[in-house]
């Protein structure tokens, strides 16, 4: 019996495949419009701020703030039900994008994760991609 594993992204999804490809090099990337500077996230092929398609991939330094979070105590998913309780959070990256992730490396997520706390990127390694998770900034 194989251990259940974390659900992983499709690496061939047309808008996000470059994002996931960059994770192989442990790079957290987001897009910005050359013409109007709009930050585009999740990744797309078009700018939502103007009609330009001139988007440049930028590299996040991987630091951010917990905008809000929850501690999941019940899940029916074969992988996640073995992980409860775990923290899911909206992370506001210092560069602007707000991304959904987990806050890990805490003893008690209810007590140790707080809104406004500073977090830093930590990669969970997989074969095809690496998964961007966060831990309290140290």
């Amino acid at each position: 019996m194989n251990e259940p594993t974390r659900p992983l992204p499709h690496t061939n999804e047309m808008d996000t495949r470059e994002f996931w490809a960059a994770t192989k090099d442990k790079e957290l990337r987001y897009q910005q419009c050359d013409d109007c500077n709009t930050v585009v996230f999740y990744p797309r092929r078009h700018c939502m701020g103007c009609t330009s398609g001139n988007l440049t991939w930028k590299l996040s330094k991987g630091f951010g703030t917990v905008y809000t979070y929850s501690v999941v105590r019940q899940s029916y998913h074969p992988f996640f039900r073995g992980k409860v309780p775990y923290a899911v959070a909206w992370i506001e990256l210092d560069e602007g994008p707000r991304m959904l992730s987990n806050v890990i490396e805490v003893d008690d997520p209810s007590a140790d994760v707080q809104i406004g706390m500073k977090v830093e990127l930590v990669w969970e390694e997989h074969e095809e991609v690496n998964i961007p998770l966060f831990r309290p900034a140290g």
Partner: protein, 396 residues
């Protein structure tokens, strides 16, 4: 001032919340449609417009028309989750006002409970083929956790407490206990200890996703219903008194840099709907607000303008939302809501149905002389991407 150019003239809510796999979602739709048409004193042949959330598969607008045996002039398969039926009502009013249709039929059917579809607690598995899904799915965020993140931020910014959120659960349970269909639903779904609840009952119930407790989460039932909306000419000759659609609003919201998660798309749809109706929230007798979770109602009471943003916690205290407290705010979800009566996945149609019951004087928790109601559907997920549909209803 509002135009009385379309009215709800027929309603039906499927009674059973547990069909034990013996009835299909399509059959629930058709049966509900027939009962709602009878309620209006109309028949299939009167219907010239159908509205369906397209949850029946490919080419659903075509297949549902054939299934009903209709050749409608208008087909609308807008699907914005649980708010689809408020969008449909808005579109029906527009289509009737423009002369494209006279009798609009909205239907919903679901066997979510029989399918044991874990809509409330399932982590989405595997990668998503939509780019947004493909960015989120690795986190194990459950539906409850999505809403719980709104609750946490609301608590953080405004000092809202679990006890205040619990007020929403106990008000809807109070109303559910007066509704025989809701009581039977809770029995069929094997709720433990079916009775009116207290704040302590809610805050002592099991935590599902911090800070939301079990009794702050909707049930997962089977069910369905239908609503018939007609032109003034048709409405005049229907069996029941018309419930006019006085104003409508539609809006969407999704995650963006610096977006305030404690304000929903309802702030925009509500402003549109109240503006079109030419009335203020203070005039509303009945608030049918999508109670997927306690926090959904808290945020929406603020967004719809019953109180200021951030003041919802104090505003709901002391049982203010109960049906027997008229005069200091609207009665909330007098059918028992999604928390305690009926939630087969997309309960927006029940908001229209119970609002119409109240304005006809037919509710189990009737507010005496109820004149104005709001039905507000929230579809998708409050803490990320969601749609908001607001419908203002009034009687003659």
């Amino acid at each position: 001032m509002n135009q009385r150019d379309a009215a709800i003239v027929g309603i039906h809510e499927h009674q059973s919340r547990d069909v034990e796999g013996k009835v299909s979602a399509l059959q629930i739709k058709a049966e509900s449609a027939a009962r709602a048409l009878e309620d209006a004193g109309l028949s299939w042949s009167d219907v010239d417009a159908i509205y369906d959330a397209g949850d029946g598969g490919g080419m659903n607008g075509l297949t549902i028309a054939e299934y009903f045996g209709l050749k409608p002039a208008v087909i609308d398969t807008t699907n914005v989750g649980g708010s689809s039926y408020e969008f449909h009502a808005a579109h029906a009013k527009r289509d009737i006002a423009s002369g494209k249709a006279n009798v609009a039929l909205l239907t919903y059917g679901s066997t979510a409970h029989s399918n044991a579809r874990a809509i409330g607690v399932g982590g989405r598995g595997g990668g998503g083929h939509h780019p947004a899904d493909n960015m989120d799915m690795f986190t194990g965020m459950t539906l409850v956790a999505n809403y719980a993140m709104v609750a946490h931020r609301h608590m953080h910014e405004y000092g809202t407490t679990s006890e205040q959120l619990a007020e929403i659960s106990i008000a809807t349970r109070c109303h559910a206990m007066r509704n025989p269909d809701a009581v039977r639903a809770m029995e069929d779904l094997e709720f433990l200890d079916i009775r009116e609840t207290t704040i302590d009952d809610v805050t002592n119930s099991r935590m599902i996703a911090d800070p939301l407790h079990l009794l702050e989460c909707c049930m997962i039932s089977d069910g369905g219903g239908a609503v018939v909306i007609a032109s003034p000419e048709v409405a005049r000759n229907c069996s029941k008194s018309p419930v006019w659609i006085l104003g409508t609003g539609e809006a969407t919201k999704y995650p963006q840099t610096s977006a305030d998660i404690t304000t929903s798309a309802g702030a925009y749809s509500g402003t549109q709907a109240f503006g079109e109706a030419g009335i203020s929230p203070a005039e509303i007798d009945i608030a049918m607000i999508y109670d997927s979770f306690s926090i959904t109602v808290m945020v929406l009471l603020e967004d719809l303008g019953f109180c200021q943003k951030g003041e919802g916690g104090a505003w709901v205290e002391g049982g203010r939302l109960r049906f027997d407290r008229p005069g200091d705010g609207p009665a909330l979800n007098t059918d028992g809501g999604g928390l305690s009566s009926n939630h087969p996945g997309m309960r927006g149609i029940f908001l229209l149905i119970e609002a119409a019951r109240q304005l006809r004087g037919e509710s189990c928790s009737q507010v005496s002389d109820a004149k104005l109601a709001v039905a507000h559907g929230n579809g998708g997920m409050l803490g990320s991407r969601h749609a908001a549909g607001t419908i203002i209803l009034g009687r003659d």
